[in-house]
């Protein structure tokens, strides 16, 4: 049993360990292949420019969303649950961007026996731009539940 974070140990203000990927066609094409997301502006630079992005093709919002989910899963481990994720896509994921998921605990509460932790989350690019602000709720085991 892999428990990475316990509810009792967390404090408001604690931060998610940073989780990064440098993205390009190798990542986008794999994502297109599993999600059947062959949208021209994710595949082709000319189509990207036609959609208003001068550098060319750009990454899927859904892939950044997956990065948020994956960063949360890697942090909480397999004995915890992801209850909610929300985000807005504010900036484009350009080719070769280094994207880093960040997050911070903003609230802890126990509701209906569930130990819920609310976080603000985001995907930052290498220029420090917040590309994907949002929030998440995870449900964590407590020390007592693990005894």
């Amino acid at each position: 049993m892999t428990v990475k974070v316990q509810f009792d140990e967390l404090r408001v203000g604690d931060e998610l360990p940073p989780w990064s990927r440098q993205t390009d066609f190798m990542h986008w094409n794999r994502y297109a292949a599993v999600n059947d997301e062959f949208v021209p502006f994710h595949m082709d630079d000319e189509a990207g420019r036609r959609a208003g992005n001068q550098p060319g093709a750009f990454g899927m919002g859904n892939l950044r969303y997956a990065y948020l989910a994956n960063a949360l899963r890697d942090w909480i481990g397999d004995e915890a649950e992801i209850r909610e994720i929300g985000c807005q896509y504010r900036a484009i994921n350009q080719k070769n961007d280094v994207l880093t998921v960040v997050g911070q605990v903003v609230e802890k509460e126990t509701v209906d026996g569930e130990n819920r932790v609310k976080l603000t989350i985001n995907v930052m690019n290498q220029a420090g731009e917040a590309t994907c602000p949002g929030h998440a709720v995870v449900v964590l085991p407590s020390r007592a539940q693990l005894r």
């Binding site: 049993m1 892999t2 990927r21 190798m26 990542h27 794999r30 994502y31 292949a33 599993v34 999600n35 059947d36 997301e37 502006f41 959609a51 208003g52 899927m60 919002g61 859904n62 892939l63 969303y65 997956a66 990065y67 989910a69 994956n70 899963r73 890697d74 397999d78 004995e79 649950e81 992801i82 209850r83 909610e84 994720i85 929300g86 985000c87 807005q88 896509y89 994907c132 949002g134």
Partner: protein
């Protein structure tokens, strides 16, 4: 970009507002569907065992492999589906469709063999002048349940068309 029109909101969108559309049913989720999804979204790192190693997954609270929460069981339909009329802005205008964001609430995890049923309704929409001219913001709600009738996911999503 929309030119020569005063509005992108179609009568079909007005009619559909708040009404659930026809349910869609996914094919059964395969172990390989989950494994490939996890590989693609963790690339180039190795994904967690919970998404591909049944022997390990059996030792966890889940009792077996689960899918990542963002997994899409509706990818790769055999027949291309035409979006419902309610999702189409005014006819004759060619638009770029962008994903504005989403909020998901998760219930039961998706597992190999699960069949997911989805229903969607257009919640609301508005339009305003933006960087690319007239821009239409549409908000929809999609609810997923599994073959046992368990709640799987609710998504509130924003689409931006211009």
């Amino acid at each position: 970009m929309a030119t020569g029109v005063d509005t992108l909101i179609s009568p079909a969108m007005q009619d559909a507002k708040g009404k659930w559309g026809e349910p869609r049913v996914s094919p059964p989720i395969g172990v390989s569907d989950i494994r490939k999804w996890a590989i693609a979204t963790y690339w180039p790192e190795t994904p967690p065992q919970i998404y591909w190693d049944e022997a390990y997954a059996k030792t966890t609270k889940w009792g077996g492999i689960i899918a990542p929460p963002d997994f899409n069981p509706f990818a790769w339909p055999v027949r291309r589906q035409t979006p419902p009329a309610s999702a189409q802005p005014v006819a004759g205008v060619r638009l770029t469709n962008m994903n504005g964001g989403q909020t998901d609430t998760f219930g039961a995890p998706m597992r190999p063999g699960d069949v997911v049923t989805a229903r969607t309704r257009l919640q609301d929409f508005n339009e305003r002048q933006g960087r690319f001219g007239l821009m239409l913001y549409a908000y929809s709600e999609t609810e997923w349940t599994n073959q046992k009738g368990e709640f799987v996911r609710r998504r509130i999503s924003t689409s931006i068309r211009y």
